[in-house]
Structure formats: C-alpha cells, structure tokens
Symmetry: C2
Subunit: 207 residues, 2 copies
C-alpha cells in the first residue's frame, strides 16, 4: 500500500507532530508528511519539520482579509500536495466550513481531556488541565477525534484515561496527559493509514 499523504497544522512546539515524524521514520506509520503549516512564525514545530526534511510553511493570518480566505489558502496548499489526511497537532485556530468540507472525515484532532468533559469553546491547552484540577476529578485523559463543524464534537477515534493524583500540578498533569496524547494520536494516524477506520454516524469503528 502507498504511504498516506499527510498534512499537519500546528501553532506551537509540536511534540505531537514529533511523535508522528518518529513513528513514520521507524516504520510504525505507513504515511508521509507532505507539508507542515503553522499560523505562528516562531512555532518550534516548523524547526522539527525542517530537521526531518519536510516542507514547512508559515502562513500569517494577518495577510488575509478573513478566516475564510485564510482557510482557502490552507486548502489550496494541502491540495497542491495531494494531502489525504490532515492532522491538527496543537493548532489553536478554528477551521472554516470550507476546510472541513474539503477534508470531511479526513481531519484528525487531539484533545487533552476525555471528551465530552472539559471540551468546547475556551477549553484548549493548559486551560483544560486547570479546569480538570479545579473541578477535582480523579480521572482525565485524552481524545483523538475526527473534526466536524463543532468544537471538539466530531466522532471519537480513541480515548485513554489518566489518573489525577492529589499531588498533581498543572505541569505534572500536562506531562502525563501529553504522553497519552502522543500514544493515541500515533495509534489513530496509524489506523487511518491502514484504512482501518470507518465512521458510522457518530461512531468510529476500528476494523
């Protein structure tokens, strides 16, 4: 089977991106990252991409009149590279309807909680872990899901739980969840590239 052509969107450090790069390199994922696009000029993920000889691009939102126009450019760049799967690896902007339509059922996102807990508008990055600690839950986790028009509402591919301990801080919790994020994102991308994921209504069936 030909390697799946992957596009990645980032806004920051890109440790989830690195996990994908490493697992393509070691043969675990049958894919190829064709292009990494960042909306932040200084995103460290761009450097990770360059180090792995992957094409990278910084696209400045300010150079476009609207979110829609910005997204049309994203679509164009990915389409030029014949991207089949788009992975959001810590991309902190919302995708336009056009983008979701252009890659329906082919956009994967990672979220640092057990959806539907601690997700939706306002829940991103450390804000998620702060809310988890403030609520006092004993279990949190991470979720990989397909992206639809809502915020964190798309069909769930994989989830894994993480215990919250009394001694956990924002830092220790973030670290523990991040380890699980890497694991299930890699697993989900691997399954996608093996053509083993099918969406039936709200459910993702693993073949």
């Amino acid at each position: 089977m030909e390697p799946t052509r992957i596009g990645v969107l980032i806004s920051g450090g890109g440790t989830n991106l690195q996990a994908i790069i490493d697992n393509i390199k070691n043969g675990n994922i049958n894919g190829r990252i064709e292009l990494i696009i960042s909306n932040k000029k200084d995103a460290y993920g761009l450097i990770r991409g360059k180090k792995a000889n992957i094409d990278t691009l910084y696209l400045d939102r300010k150079q476009f009149n609207s979110e829609e126009e910005y997204n049309l450019e994203l679509i164009k760049k990915f389409k030029e590279k014949n991207v089949d799967l788009v992975v959001l690896a810590g991309y902190l902007r919302v995708l336009s309807k056009d983008f979701i339509e252009a890659f329906r059922g082919r956009i994967i996102n990672i979220h640092p909680s057990l959806i539907p807990s601690f997700c939706g508008k306002g829940f991103y990055g450390e804000k998620v872990h702060k809310a988890v600690l403030d609520y006092g839950v004993k279990i949190t986790g991470a979720t990989v899901h397909f992206v639809d028009e809502g915020t964190d509402t798309g069909p769930i591919i994989l989830q894994e739980a993480v215990e919250v301990e009394d001694t956990d801080t924002l830092e220790t919790l973030k670290e523990k969840v991040l380890r699980v994020e890497h694991k299930i994102l890699v697993q989900a991308v691997k399954l996608y590239c093996q053509n083993r994921l099918s969406i039936e209504g709200r459910k993702v069936i693993i073949k």
Copy 2:
C-alpha cells in the same frame, strides 16, 4: 474505632447495597447499616436488607404533601438511628436542601459515568449508558461523590474508567460499569469509615 453508623436510600434492586452489606460482613468496611429506606414498595433492596437482618422501611412519597415534608421524615428516621453516613445506592429522587444540610459532607452517591460527562438532570440509570453509546465515546466509567445541592455536582471521592467496545450494548455496558460501581463505592465507604476522607473546596483528599 466504633463502626460508622450508616443509613442507605434505595429505589431498586440494590446491588450496590449488597456490595456494602457483603463488605461489612467480611470485615472490609468498619461500618454498620442501621436503616435502609426505599421510596419504592417492591424494591428488591428491602429484601436484601431483611435477609441481612437490617432494619428496613418503605416510605411512600404519596403520603406526604411535598418533597420537603417527605425529606423531613427521612431525616427524622435516620437521626433516630444516629446515622453518621448516608449512602445513596440507586436512589432515584432528589434530596431536599434540608436533607443535604442535615448530613452535609456525609452523603455519598454513586453515578454510572465519569462526571462531568453524562451527568446532571435526566442522566440516571440506563439513560446514562444510552447517552454514552449514542455519543460514541471510547471511555466511560463510574464516580463516587459527596452530594451537594446540585445534581451530580458534589466533590468527587473516586472515579474509575471503563472501556467502551464496538460490540457493547446497553446491557453489557451497564454490567461492566456496575462492577466498577461496586468496587469504588465499597472503597469510598471504607475510606469514610476509616475517617480518611477530607473535603477541601471541591477536592476530596484521601489521607
């Protein structure tokens, strides 16, 4: 240490009640159930209580003018028995403010999901598992928490995750979660009876 005096409220079969009875009997929980009250005449939990030589009482809501008056009677009955801890073991009515005030920090409830997912008004019994299956989550679980004025909003004592498999039905999921309910409810009651739970804001610290 003297055994903790426990009151139990039920509406149905009472398998969680049975788990507590068994773990008191085998010495795992240092407690004594003083009284079991059901709002349903034919709740099988009443028979479980009688078999274990525990006082049981059926209190018909219809015999009272309001939920408040009904709850005043519940308080009276438990106070007569010097109950220290109230366990809701599948009690499907909402407690009044008076009741919560009378036993503040001393009422434990078990909920068949990972709060704050699939909880609050309308989420009880099988409706929870149906919502879990409809949403398509891959992880659910159970939560033991102290009861406050909200619905399923009180400080969380223990949680445990349960995997949802593609082949799970309402029945199989209910069964798997129930096993975890028994385990963490028994553990929470045991910790309470050992005086090892302290509530700090929204967090329950296990000493």
